[in-house]
């Protein structure tokens, strides 16, 4: 009987994974019926929980999840209503604009949303991870630029088969971005120099190094249309496209998003399951207590900033290998800065970052579509983003205060019993 039960649970978990992965791939490539597979995965996961922990506990988990989800959902709704009011006041039709925004962001130009989201997931993960160690890796933008440059440089020179060269570039370019962050990390550990200042300065250095790099790797003026563009990297280093196996997918959509999501799952695992993550979180929550229990603050701060640099570097790699296949000046600048919003919105939870990055990407993509089709200014989208973020920050204040009140109350309950 016992064996049978375990067998059932494993079966359900396997079904969850298969359905989720296939559903996700389809959905991302704009085969929207993939949603039903993902929903199926959710149901099968629920039943596996029910077998494992019993009906009550599983239901409790579902309720807790929905409750967690409700707070950002409310924030988004409020922000949309607010954006609508502003449109009304300034003489635009909010219904038409929002229809265009959502149709553009989530249906028509869904592939653009996904392309926007891919690098944002990496920078968001980078910042969220550092936040968990109590560090603010504000210079993710710089590590992104290192990722861009390193992958372009390697892509121009390596002629190995894709199966070898692509993982190699990911690892080496990521490691170089990590090494770039090693300097601020070292300064932080040795002298206490604040990472907000040092990583930000390093971001500027990386960014303004890039024109020099581009010119050094630029094409022959006779064949290149623009002096500030590098040569195109070898086709052997290009990321596979969704179109290669799903013919209806958009021709620009590369599999970077799948790598990004897999990385998010990996970061979640690191943070919540491993010794490394345990120490990082302990240092982030209370470095004095961590130190008194033998956890080295310096080692963990150093590791966290390096890993954060690695993650932000990957965002540059996916941009070059997946989308642009070359580097030019100011190539999609701002992913590092936007990653801060994405991480904050996700409450620094690695899995949450996936969704907030897609939301951010969709708002950008939908905003462009909205401007093109309804002439509503794109700044509305920025206002909505600002309001969402504001509400999230306000939520932090609220929950911190609310938590304290609750604690006091429950302590009083305990004593009163």
């Amino acid at each position: 009987m016992n064996n049978l039960r375990i067998g059932k649970e494993t079966l359900l978990l396997a079904a969850t994974v298969v359905l989720a992965v296939i559903g996700l791939i389809l959905y991302v490539a704009a085969y929207f019926w993939g949603f039903f597979l993902m929903a199926g995965a959710a149901v099968s996961y629920y039943f596996s929980l029910r077998i494992k922990n019993g009906r009550e506990a599983a239901w409790e988990d579902v309720r807790g999840f929905l409750k967690k989800l409700s707070i950002p959902a409310i924030g988004i709704v409020v922000a949309i209503v607010f954006g609508g009011l502003i449109m009304l006041l300034t003489g635009y039709n909010p219904l038409k604009a929002f229809r265009a925004l959502f149709y553009g962001g989530f249906v028509r130009n869904w592939h653009v949303s996904i392309l926007n989201a891919t690098p944002l997931i990496f920078t968001g993960l980078s910042i969220a991870f550092a936040f968990n160690a109590g560090l603010f890796n504000i210079g993710a933008e710089g590590q992104y630029y290192i990722g861009l440059m390193a992958s372009t440089w390697l892509g121009l020179r390596l002629g190995l088969p894709p199966i070898i060269v692509i993982p190699f570039i990911f690892v080496v370019a990521g490691a170089l971005a990590a090494a770039y962050n090693a300097v601020p990390a070292f300064l932080k550990v040795k002298t206490g120099a604040h990472e907000v200042i040092t990583t930000m300065m390093f971001a500027h250095i990386a960014r303004y190094m890039s024109p020099i790099f581009i010119r050094a790797n630029g094409g022959d003026p006779a064949t290149s249309t623009h002096a500030y563009v590098t040569d195109v990297i070898g086709e052997n280093t290009w990321l596979p496209m969704f179109r290669d196996f799903l013919p209806r997918a958009n021709y620009r959509l590369h599999i970077g998003i799948l790598i990004a999501i897999a990385t998010a799952v990996f970061v979640h695992y690191i943070l919540y399951k491993t010794k490394f993550g345990f120490e990082i979180r302990a240092v982030g929550e209370n470095k004095d207590a961590a130190r008194a229990q033998g956890i080295s603050i310096g080692v963990n701060v150093f590791r966290a900033l390096l890993f954060a640099g690695f993650l932000a570097g990957l965002s540059g790699v996916t941009e070059v290998l997946g989308l642009s296949h070359k580097m030019f000046e100011n190539l999609n600048a701002g992913y590092g800065w936007n990653g801060i919003s994405v991480a904050l919105l996700a409450g620094n939870n690695p899995l949450g970052v996936i969704f907030t990055a897609i939301l951010w990407g969709a708002l950008d993509a939908g905003g462009q579509y909205m401007t093109r089709t309804t002439q509503t200014p794109n700044s509305i989208v920025e206002i909505i983003k600002g309001v969402i973020l504001f509400l999230i920050v306000a939520r932090y204040i609220y929950t911190v205060l609310g938590g304290k009140l609750k604690k006091r109350r429950s302590a009083a309950v305990k004593e009163a019993k």
Binding site: K273, T274, K275, F276, F278, E279, R281, A282, E285, N286, D288, A289, A290, R291, A292, Q293, G294, I295, S296, K407, R409, S410, A411, A412, V413, K414, E415, A416
Partner: protein
């Protein structure tokens, strides 16, 4: 200063709280409470943490509105919408956590929110003179120009008192005033309180310490679970009576320590230890001590005489300048904290929130912390959460930790239960040496009793224990030997049965150190 019975009753009632009920969404914090305060008396409000003392005083001070009930001042009914109203009617409150701005001067802090002068220009001169005059009148010894962050906690508390007096308080509420003070500062505070009473101020002291009730108050109200369970004229009651009414059961005030013959070589030896404090001054000057298996050595001393530095040096958190720390014959001077944990040397830090626990972490995670690098807490690179939960569950039962589950964040527990989590972690790994620093700070009688018995239990298991405490009572209750720490040196050694608190107290303040040398 103690009043004869009936003396208080002959005075006029300056404050009366009638049938006060305060209901929170799920708690009845105050249930039908009646309190009278006579002019010029010191009233103690005694109760365990969470009994409703602070709620009641917050109702009085206008921070909470009562659900029902009335407050009378000098026979007149008053309704306070906010502390501002209460202050204007002559009430003052000194909170447990001071409400001072660290980088302003005493005068600036006192006038803050009530600045004299007109047209937006503050009249500092008058204010300063007034503060000075008040300080002299009540013998507070506060320098009006000192910056708050540069003065001691005891003085900061007096600034709070001055603040209330400056606002013409006739009734002063002191919320757990001794919680943050050293024994000497407590004595000084009580002197101040007595001076205040002589000049006609009435005082309410909130406390959970029986000692203080006996020492300072004229009358005492005892609160338990939001209700008054007793009213006494202080000279008429004994400490055990108070304790029983407060806790609602028989409480052992001092645990019994079985006398014991010590055998074997010292487990733990410190030789000529020199350690510097944060600002580079020698905090420990060639300190030496040794502890044998099954012995509790108590370090008595006023806060700031090197206790922190001693604890941190032993734990590997602070650099040792010179000297040696030997554990089971091995030199562990300058070992990393991780090595010290692995060698089975336990540590109960004095500040459990800052050094003991990661409050957002679950009980299971807190119990594993420090031992999380070794199996069975770890499997490969993964934490073994299943084992951690089972182990935590076992310890929750063994140490009587009151919690709904092992996944509850440590921050949600009461102070006593938080301390039990730390004890569970440190005592369950079969330590050979324990460094226990202020294990019962801020805890109530029931929790103190439990924690003391657990420490003695470790003594029975032949653990060498170094106890650092600012509470002399605790030192006397637990120690086999008392060492007095004064300005970084052990100035005297006692057996507890051959001395008393007064004598030890004298050495603690350096009163007898010179004569001894």
């Amino acid at each position: 200063m103690t009043l004869k019975k009936g003396a208080a009753e002959s005075r006029s009632v300056c404050l009366e709280m009638k049938n006060i009920v305060k209901r929170f969404p799920r708690v009845l914090a105050n249930n039908n409470i009646n309190i009278k305060l006579y002019e010029g008396e010191i009233l103690a409000l005694l109760g365990e943490n969470g009994a409703g003392k602070s709620t009641l005083m917050n109702v009085l001070y206008g921070l909470y509105r009562p659900t029902s009930g009335e407050i009378f001042l000098d026979g007149q009914e008053v309704v306070f919408q906010s502390p501002k109203d209460a202050i204007s009617k002559g009430l003052g409150m000194v909170h447990q956590h001071f409400m001072l701005v660290d980088n302003l001067t005493v005068t600036e802090n006192i006038i803050l929110g009530n600045e004299p002068g007109k047209g937006g220009v503050i009249d500092y001169k008058t204010a300063r003179a007034e503060v000075k005059a008040l300080s002299e009148k009540y013998h507070l010894g506060v320098d009006p120009d000192a910056v708050i962050e540069n003065i001691s906690v005891g003085l900061q508390q007096r600034v709070e008192i001055l603040k209330a007096l400056y606002r013409k308080a006739k009734i002063l509420i002191l919320d757990e005033p001794t919680a943050v003070l050293t024994p000497q500062e407590v004595d000084d505070l009580f002197k101040v309180v007595k001076t205040l009473v002589e000049t006609g101020v009435s005082i309410i002291i909130i406390t959970h310490k029986l000692e203080e009730v006996k020492e300072i108050s004229d009358r005492v109200y005892i609160l338990r679970r939001g209700e008054i369970t007793g009213v006494h004229s202080t000279p008429d009651v004994t400490k055990p009576m108070l304790a029983n009414e407060m806790v609602g059961r028989e409480v052992v005030l001092t645990v019994t320590r079985e006398p014991k013959k010590l055998t074997g070589d010292p487990t733990f030896i410190i030789q000529d230890l020199v350690v510097k404090s944060d600002n580079g001054i020698e905090a420990l000057k060639k300190l030496s001590l040794d502890i044998r298996p099954g012995e509790i050595v108590g370090i008595a001393g006023v806060d700031g005489n090197g206790q922190t530095e001693l604890a941190e040096a032993i734990r590997g958190l602070r650099k040792v300048e010179a000297g040696q720390v030997l554990f089971q014959g091995q030199d562990v001077t300058g070992s990393s904290t991780r090595d010290i944990i692995r060698k089975k040397m336990g540590y109960v830090p004095s500040d459990r929130h800052r050094f003991g626990l990661v409050l957002p972490f679950s009980i299971a995670e807190n119990i594993a912390m420090g031992y999380h690098t070794d199996p069975p807490n770890i499997r490969g690179i993964n934490m073994n959460f299943r084992y951690m939960d089972e182990e935590a569950q076992r310890l929750v039962e063994a140490f009587d930790i009151r919690t709904p589950g092992t996944n509850v964040p440590a921050g949600n527990l009461s102070g006593g239960n938080q301390q039990k989590v730390i004890l569970a972690r440190e005592f369950s790994h079969e330590p050979e040496f324990l460094l226990v620093s202020q294990p019962t700070r801020g805890l109530d009688v029931g929790a103190i009793e439990y924690i003391h018995s657990q420490i003695l239990n470790m003594r029975e298991k032949n653990v060498a224990i170094l106890l650092i405490s600012l509470e002399l009572e605790e030192i006397f209750a637990l120690s086999d030997r008392i060492l007095v720490l004064y300005e970084g040196e052990i100035v005297k050694q006692f057996r507890p049965e051959e001395t008393n608190e007064t004598e030890v107290g004298l050495f603690m303040t350096g009163g007898k150190g010179a004569e001894n040398e």
